[in-house]
């Protein structure tokens, strides 16, 4: 047995011992990468039955509203437009097909790994109107901010962003305020916390009395986070603890925050199948409004229509597990996804289907 395996066994033993003595515990992992890591590492199969892990609204693709996807598809349909997007987005079905289908029909859709690659694309292709799909949480927002600043500095008139960024804390607050899911504690996202810092979770702990533990992604790190959480629940404590201190500090990354604040301001945002959550999104400030694709092309996002029967909205709030959705695994598969949770590699439904079905 390797050193890592010994450590993992020990951590699982400790978690089991606490769970044995405790009432059933329900933890939410807010981050899609955690969801996938828990499945991919096989940890989910090793935890005691009385410990439930539910996935939260932490997959950037899954929380993106249908209205947003429809706008992206509408723009992709214009001859002069090139859509630059993170890979996960291309297969998400809108009301009239996905970007992938549009690309097959001749639309210009380019997969990029960062917002700045989209700027570089715009520089290289001055004849194209380049629209970057700016989605993701606090992790990708600084990169979008940097790209917009770069576009402004380069005086680009062919680069735009379709604002769709989301903020994690307001969504957690909404879930707790709604009170429909009995969450005992949060496994807080490692990457997002690198930017926002441990302090950002203070309101969750103080206002709602729910433990928050920032957790890394390796199997050992995941288990350390879970152990700290079950301990807090068993001891009836609610604190912010940091099990990912190699990367996350108390204050986060102030520089990244400054960049976000320079370019964006917090505004209400529509979350898929949840609806509008106040102060949970980012809009471009007036001095950067020229880069707003909605403004430039004069379009309004339509309503967030959810395909009939799709439970993605319930899944991302932890109200339902994927197999509870009637479409799961039959009408909705990774080959023919109905909802975004089946599309994204970070999506809860895709993870269940891939690793557990």
């Amino acid at each position: 047995m390797s050193d890592t395996q010994r450590k993992i066994r020990k951590l699982i033993g400790q978690i089991e011992a606490i769970c044995l003595e405790s009432r059933p515990i329900c933890l939410m992992e807010v981050c899609g990468t955690h969801t996938v890591s828990l499945f991919r590492s096989g940890i989910k199969s090793l935890l005691p039955d009385s410990l439930r892990l539910i996935s939260g609204p932490g997959c950037p693709v899954c929380v993106t509203s249908q209205g947003y996807i429809n706008v992206a598809c509408e723009l992709a349909g214009r001859d002069e437009v090139t859509i630059c997007t993170y890979g996960d987005m291309v297969r998400v079905p809108g009301s009239n097909g996905s970007l992938e289908q549009q690309s097959a029909e001749g639309a210009s859709v380019v997969v990029v790994y960062s917002a700045r690659d989209a700027v570089a694309y715009a520089v290289k292709h001055p004849d194209r109107q380049v629209v970057f799909l700016a989605v993701g949480f606090e992790t990708t927002a600084p990169a979008t901010a940097a790209a917009v600043m770069e576009a402004k500095q380069k005086k680009l008139d062919n680069f735009f962003v379709l604002p769709g960024h989301k903020l994690v804390i307001p969504a957690m607050q909404m879930l707790l305020s709604a009170g429909e899911v009995a969450i005992d504690g949060f496994m807080c996202p490692g990457h997002v916390s690198v930017v926002i810092g441990t302090e950002a979770y203070r309101p969750i702990v103080e206002e709602f009395g729910k433990p928050c533990v920032i957790t890394g992604f390796e199997p050992e790190k995941l288990l350390q986070g879970i152990l700290l959480l079950v301990k807090q629940v068993a001891e009836d404590r609610a604190e912010v603890e940091n099990a990912y201190d190699v990367a996350v500090s108390e204050k986060g990354n102030p520089l990244a925050w400054q960049m976000i604040e320079k370019v964006f301001y917090p505004a209400a945002a529509v979350w898929r199948a949840i609806g509008e959550i106040p102060e949970s999104g980012l809009e471009l400030r007036d001095e950067f409004k020229a880069f707003d694709a909605l403004e430039h092309f004069g379009i309004e996002p339509g309503p967030d229509e959810v395909p009939p029967g799709c439970l993605c909205g319930e899944v991302i709030q932890g109200k339902a597990t994927p197999p509870e959705c009637k479409l799961f695994g039959t009408k909705c598969t990774p080959m023919n996804p109905v909802g975004p949770c089946m599309v994204s590699s970070e999506g809860t439904c895709a993870a269940w289907f891939k690793y557990k079905s």
Binding site: I8, S41, G42, I43, C84, G87, R91, V110, Y113, K354
Partner: protein
């Protein structure tokens, strides 16, 4: 480049840029077909079309890929590749220097594999989009080795799965060079002709039941195919998978599973438990197989599934990827 129509310009392109680099006695007469002798025995034939974006990537290019892909498809059937055909479809606007490099790679890969380009065709077409691309189709003929009995139908529970080296390097290297996704990495594609390695494996004395090169859908794709064909289950061990640290980290960064990423220089081999060590030893004696390892085995668990026993000691399913794997957002 603007060499359409098959007239003088195309002839000049062939005469100056292509033929001299690929020169051999089958090709040189420039007749409509290649003529060659065959030894008595059974022949094996395959063909494959190659498209890759970008055309050049760390560790290789479309030319090397087109030769190795066809050589390997013959090799894993236990055939000795002899002659390849080469059909080039070049888009107007293709840089002539790029074409030169690709032809150079074809010549080099053919030399390495010990095959000749016996016949070929070149067309120049109008480009799609900004143009400047190319596609290559190769076909290959080889003679089946005597005494081999490759047949997945012979696989039974307890048989062992071996992979001949570090996985996922081709797919990750290509992705690292893709427009818009470009990232700095020391990863190189593993694209290589595997007939030499196959010779060693076949000569190891092991009774080989199955070989396949895990290309587009990675090791996961081959495993899924086998489970469906054979009706048994497969248990893979995460700790046993040969993966370089750099490939593992790159895959993690992109949110990809190393099992579903393409390889162009690896073979999956199935043998009985008793023969496994012979194959691993044969692999490791070859430069292209030095990281070869046993990665799992067949079981009679039903229904037939591919499962991975993880480092953490848990279990999870392994499925073939759905279309092209897409890098995640954050």
């Amino acid at each position: 480049m603007a060499h359409g129509g098959g007239g003088e310009l195309t002839r000049q392109l062939l005469a100056e840029r292509i033929i001299p680099r690929l020169s051999n006695e089958l090709l040189n007469p420039l007749m409509d077909s290649a003529v060659f002798d065959v030894e008595p025995g059974r022949l094996c034939m395959t063909t494959d079309g190659f498209v890759v974006d970008p055309l050049e990537f760390p560790g290789g290019d479309i030319g090397r890929l087109a030769v190795c892909g066809t050589v390997n498809d013959l090799a894993v059937m236990a055939a000795d590749p002899k002659v390849l055909s080469l059909a080039l479809v070049l888009e107007e606007g293709l840089e002539i220097e790029l074409l030169d490099r690709v032809i150079g790679s074809i010549a080099e890969a053919a030399r390495q594999a010990g095959v000749v380009i016996g016949t070929g065709d070149t067309k120049v077409v109008e480009g799609r989009g900004s143009g400047g691309g190319m596609t290559i189709t190769t076909a290959g003929v080889g003679r089946l080795k005597d005494g081999m009995r490759l047949d997945p139908g012979r696989i039974v529970a307890g048989d062992v799965i071996i992979v001949t080296g570090n996985i996922a390097e081709h797919g990750l290297a290509v992705m690292s060079a893709r427009d818009g996704l470009a990232f700095e990495t020391k990863l190189l594609s593993d694209v290589a002709p595997l007939n030499g390695l196959v010779n060693r494996i076949c000569e190891s004395g092991a009774d080989i039941k199955f070989m396949r090169d895990p290309t587009r859908s990675g090791v996961a794709g081959v495993m899924a195919d086998l489970v469906e064909d054979v009706g048994l289950s497969i248990e893979l061990e995460e700790d046993a998978l040969p993966v370089s640290a750099i490939a593992r980290h790159t895959a993690e960064l992109l949110g990809l599973d190393v099992l579903t990423v393409a390889n162009e220089g690896k073979i999956v081999v199935v043998v009985s438990q008793a023969d496994a060590d012979k194959v691993v030893a044969a692999c490791r004696a070859d430069e292209l197989g030095r990281d070869g390892a046993i990665i799992g085995r067949f079981t009679d668990a039903q229904p037939g599934l591919v499962e991975l026993i993880t480092t953490a000691g848990g279990r999870r399913l392994v499925q073939r990827p759905y279309g092209e794997d897409l890098p995640r957002i954050c």
